[in-house]
């Protein structure tokens, strides 16, 4: 058994310095919190997605899906007659929105209640089948409350093809998913203009049976052209993959917070060890062995790590709650509707974070243990020897940092499109860059010593000297501060460049003066909203020079999601395409004559398509083969879009509802007058939105800003973490130097002079960390823009240097360091020198 007194001596030292202990534990906690928050958010989003997929699949094992306009209704009867799918449920699924300003998105599911027996959704069905009446619907209590309706109330909902009026006839069991309305299949077919067609057929096959492969083969044999048998949830799983890019970006941002957190954990722990160097030296002189000392330090690291981790887990979950709201908002803005999710506690995430907190703290103690073990008791007791050792370590760390940067750079040059590899390279570059901060600050302080001495006298000389000498204690905090500021700059530069690029793209893309749009993105026509009669009426409004239209259609062959956009264009609108490849005039000449398409940059990049390549699309009958004539810039859709002529689209897929129209005004027209005239033509449902170009642009940028709110939050978290780290570092250092400053005060140094010297010292540290952050931030921005975003979303953009942000970054670093130095400086200057000198 170990002697207990070395543990007691060490513990009492920490107990007597509660600030250092508290800040050290807080540093560990914040590092853990950053990781828990981000990973829990990711896990919760994934869980919400999986739950939604499972709920709507209703326990089916397989699904039959088809190219537009959908699954042939007759197929169901054929399957049943053949006896291959006795448990099959025909389904229609559509996204709708409530009308009004605060529009909510819901899912309408059309089912056949008699065929649906055995389907999980049928379990939640009310006992009376009153909803079978025309336009009857049921929902669970939460959804009814959310919509503000009770049984008997009517609901008006919009979709891209028009409006649908439903009556809530019953409240279903709570097992029915939220934000879902279930209607009779016939009602859905009629309302959505899908007579004779289905969204899918859900099948419950006995996958464990010996003849399951044979059954599947027989089902496939019965399928008409462009119908596919897929495992249940394949479509939503494919949609789910779309969010992987978002997850990857969240991961990249989380990486920055993690790295800052790691530095802070290291900083906190190494400080707690270093400040007791002399104590350890005395213990060694008295006969405490290296192994005994190592056990004392390790035991403490385990205690701090556990305490900090427990606090960090709690903090992280609080932060995750906020991040989850932001993440869901982003997903709903960019991808698809995902209902509000509960925070999902993932055991692997929590264990991983605990491992990081406790393991990281123990690992951070290792260098100090090694140093304590290697050094002789005489060296341990000597502060100068400690600084010499630290100087050697700083040199080694610099070399290691340079090596990491070289490996990271080499990784970036590898011919790969892997996101993970890109993130790994970013991690290496950041870690390498951060490790270079202490030696760079050390060198800069050496250079500044003479000029600052000449400029500020004794205080300048003393400040540079002390800052340099104490870098073994403050170097890690400086690196963490530089990293946090660099993260802010890097993310800020990426967002600013992106915003700039999106703004420029919108400016070029939005050529019309007014835009009229229907809700939803794609659907088949049902004779609803933006119909031909309305478009003809629009064209005859006084002041309207021309109209272009857009129709969109999403194809979901197994394992893929293809978004097709059918344009009815004039030359002015066509010139809105910002071509990255292809000859503009040649494409325009062929546009309405040949089966050609423009691929958006993400579309082309993800499918590795170049100008001249062909792509085959599953059409209503057979295949539509189009040639990629050009590639255009598009930040609107991460999954990519294929733009073709309207006639080509409708010839292949049948009539499709117009989702939006661009209205071009004559030069002399008054925008407001034309807008009023058009508004008078619109149906009173309030479903169609008429907006001027600028409003669309503003709304798009608003969505953009909301999307990157999460990036801003993570950046702020990293900065706060680093500021606390610097504060902890400087405070601990100040406490260590109590005697030194007491001696200076005893020798006649005034409080003001001492205060000035300390603020100069901390300010220098902050300023130099800030200067180091500039190139590091640039590096982060380049990797995020040119690697992470290209690999995740497939879009490129020019880098815009946000000059004011660079200034803010420097001020932030300086401010954080000065703020962090205030309390220690006040404390030291205020302490009576006699008391400090008396201390053992």
């Amino acid at each position: 058994m170990d002697a207990s007194l070395p543990y007691l001596a060490s513990a009492r030292h920490l107990w007597r310095h509660p600030w250092q202990l508290g800040l050290g534990v807080l540093g560990i906690a914040l590092g853990v919190a950053a990781v828990v928050a981000i990973q829990t958010t990711r896990a919760s989003v994934s869980h919400a997605f999986d739950a939604a997929t499972a709920a709507l699949a209703g326990g089916a094992t397989h699904q039959i899906i088809a190219a537009p306009p959908g699954v042939d209704e007759q197929l169901l009867a054929r399957l049943r007659r053949a006896g291959v799918a006795p448990r099959s449920t025909p389904i229609i699924e559509r996204t709708v929105t409530t009308l009004g300003d605060a529009a909510r998105t819901l899912t309408v599911l059309g089912i056949d209640p008699f065929a649906a027996r055995g389907h999980a959704l049928a379990g939640a069905m009310p006992a009376n089948l009153a909803f079978l009446t025309r336009q009857g619907a049921y929902a669970n209590a939460a959804t009814a409350t959310m919509l503000g309706v009770a049984p008997g109330d009517r609901l008006m909902l919009g979709f891209s093809g028009g409006t649908i009026a439903l009556e809530l006839v019953a409240i279903a069991a709570d097992t029915l998913p939220d934000e879902l309305l279930v209607v009779d299949l016939a009602t859905a077919q009629e309302a959505f203009g899908l007579a004779g067609h289905l969204s899918r057929i859900d099948l419950l096959l006995d996958t464990g049976a010996d003849d399951s492969a044979e059954i599947e083969r027989r089902i496939r044999a019965l399928l008409p052209a462009n119908h596919w048998l897929v495992a249940a949830g394949t479509l939503r799983a494919t949609l789910g993959r779309l969010t992987e890019a978002f997850h990857a970006n969240l991961g990249a941002l989380g990486l920055l917070a993690l790295l800052v957190g790691l530095f802070l954990v290291y900083n906190a722990q190494s400080f707690l060890v270093r400040q007791r160097r002399e104590l350890f030296g005395r213990l060694r002189t008295l006969g405490v062995t290296r192994a005994q000392l190592a056990r004392v330090v390790l035991f403490e690291a385990l205690l701090f790590g556990s305490g900090g981790t427990a606090l960090g887990l709690a903090l992280g979950l609080v932060l995750a709650r906020r991040l989850l709201r932001l993440a869901l908002q982003t997903i709903n803005d960019l991808y698809f509707h995902l209902q509000v999710a509960e925070l999902q506690l993932s055991v692997p995430v929590l264990l991983g974070a605990a491992l990081l907190g406790i393991g990281g703290t123990v690992l951070a103690a290792v260098p100090a243990i090694v140093e304590a073990a290697r050094a002789s008791p005489r060296q341990l007791a000597s502060r100068i020897a400690g600084e010499r050792t630290a100087a050697k370590v700083i040199r080694r760390v610099a070399m290691f940092g340079a090596l990491l940067i070289a490996i990271g750079s080499a990784t970036l040059w590898l011919p790969s499109t892997s996101m993970q590899l890109g993130l790994a390279a970013l991690f290496l570059l950041l870690l390498g860059g951060a490790l270079l901060v202490p030696p760079l600050v050390h060198t800069a302080l050496g250079v500044l010593q003479a000029p600052l001495g000449a400029l500020c006298g004794h205080a300048g000389f003393q400040a540079t000297r002390a800052a340099r000498r104490n870098l073994s204690r403050t170097g890690v905090a400086a690196a963490a501060l530089a990293l946090a500021v660099a993260s802010g700059l890097g993310i800020g530069t990426m967002v600013e460049s992106f915003r700039h690029a999106v703004d420029a793209w919108l400016g070029q893309m939005l050529r019309a003066d007014l835009y009229l749009s229907a809700p939803g993105s794609d659907d088949y026509a049902s004779g609803g909203a933006l119909d031909d009669a309305l478009l003809t009426a629009l064209a005859s409004v006084d002041g309207v020079a021309g109209i272009t239209t857009v129709r969109t259609l999403t194809l979901t062959p197994p394992g893929d999601v293809l978004k097709l956009t059918g344009y009815e264009l004039n030359r002015r609108a066509f010139d809105g395409f910002q071509l990255l490849a292809g000859d503009r005039d040649a494409i325009w000449r062929r546009w309405q004559r040949e089966p050609i398409a423009l691929a958006s940059e993400p579309f082309a990049r993800k499918r590795r398509l170049a100008v001249g390549d062909r792509i085959n699309l599953p059409a209503r009958a057979g295949t539509l083969s189009v040639e990629i004539a050009g590639i255009y810039r598009d930040y609107g859709n991460g999954r990519g879009t294929l733009a073709i002529d309207r006639a080509l689209l409708e010839n292949a897929f049948g009539p499709i509802a117009t989702s939006s129209a661009g209205i071009y005004l004559s030069a002399s027209a008054d925008l407001r007058a034309v807008q009023r005239a058009i508004e008078a033509l619109l149906p009173a449902t309030g479903l169609l939105h008429l907006r001027p170009q600028q409003a669309i642009r503003d709304a798009s940028l608003q969505v953009f800003d909301r999307t990157f709110l999460i990036a801003g939050v993570l950046r702020d978290v990293a900065t706060v973490i680093a500021a606390i780290g610097v504060f902890a570092g400087l405070l601990a250092l100040a406490l260590e130097r109590t005697r030194e400053f007491a001696t200076q005060r005893a020798l006649g140094q005034t409080r003001a002079a001492l205060w000035w010297q300390l603020m100069l010292e901390t300010g220098l540290l902050g300023l130099l960390a800030g200067l180091c952050a500039l190139p590091l931030g640039g590096l982060i921005a380049i990797v995020l823009i040119d690697v992470v975003n290209v690999r995740a979303f497939g879009w490129t953009m020019a880098i815009t240097i946000p000059w004011p942000m660079l200034g803010h970054g420097l001020l932030l670093a300086l401010g954080a360091a000065l703020l962090a130095g205030c309390y220690p400086a006040w404390r030291l200057a205020a302490q009576p020198p006699a008391a400090a000198l008396r201390e053992e």
Binding site: A3, R16, L283, R284, T285, G287, V288, E840
Partner: protein, 231 residues
């Protein structure tokens, strides 16, 4: 009879930039068991270095050091540490008490490290410490922390800590350097009495002529060697 301390051709230098001026040059020394020896010489002459080498906390560049018949050069960590904790007691000019342990705990530490007692409440350890503190006039200060003590009291605690585990050799590095004349005299008297009663070998580095006068052997260090040996 085996010498308590035997140094043969011991050399030591400390690198200072490009140069490494020698501190000890092929120094030979033997001190018999139970002897009170004083080391004196000018500041920087190598007194503290010699004590550190005898204690095994600083290895010589060359030569052999034998303490109670054991060649320290043959010991590696942690054997050297274990040897030191068992056979050596150390008294420093600046006391080097553990500021976070009480007087009793500071004195208890060597006993606990040597496995003589297991915990703070061990009756054997408590008795031994109480007796020692009583003799050193610290009976009523056992629960105080070092910062609550005067310089003389701190050094008496350091003496108790150096002797409590009954080492073969006690090394004292200018133990009166931080004390006034009267307190210093009292401390040396106590130390001398305790060491002689226990038959322990004491080597003390000092500048005090009064202390030198009390010693059995006077060793002057000059130019890295023992220049004068009396008695």
């Amino acid at each position: 009879m085996t010498a308590a301390i035997a140094l043969h051709r011991v050399s030591k230098s400390y690198r200072n930039g490009a140069v490494a001026p020698p501190v000890l040059r092929q120094l030979d020394l033997e001190i018999a068991t139970g002897t009170f020896a004083v080391l004196f010489g000018r500041s920087g002459s190598g007194k503290s270095t010699l004590l550190n080498i005898i204690a095994g906390i600083d290895p010589p560049d060359a030569g052999t050091v034998r303490i109670a018949g054991t060649d320290l050069g043959t010991l590696r960590e942690p054997a050297l540490t274990l040897f030191r904790r068992r056979h050596i007691g150390f008294i420093f000019q600046s006391f080097n008490l553990l500021p976070t342990l009480t007087v009793a705990e500071n004195v208890l530490l060597p006993l606990q490290l040597n496995g003589v007692v297991r915990g703070g409440a061990d009756p054997l350890g408590a008795r031994r410490i109480a007796a020692l503190l009583e003799r050193l006039g610290l009976a009523d200060r056992h629960a105080a922390f070092p910062e609550e003590l005067s310089g003389g009291e701190r050094q008496r605690v350091a003496i108790a800590r150096a002797l409590v585990h009954q080492p073969d050799v006690v090394l004292a590095d200018e133990p009166t350097g931080n004390l006034d004349l009267e307190t210093g005299r009292q401390v040396i008297t106590l130390l001398d009495d305790l060491v002689r009663d226990a038959g322990v070998t004491l080597v003390m580095a000092t500048h005090s002529h009064e202390v030198i006068g009390r010693a059995d052997r006077e060793l002057q260090i000059r130019d890295g060697r023992i220049a004068a040996v009396s008695r």
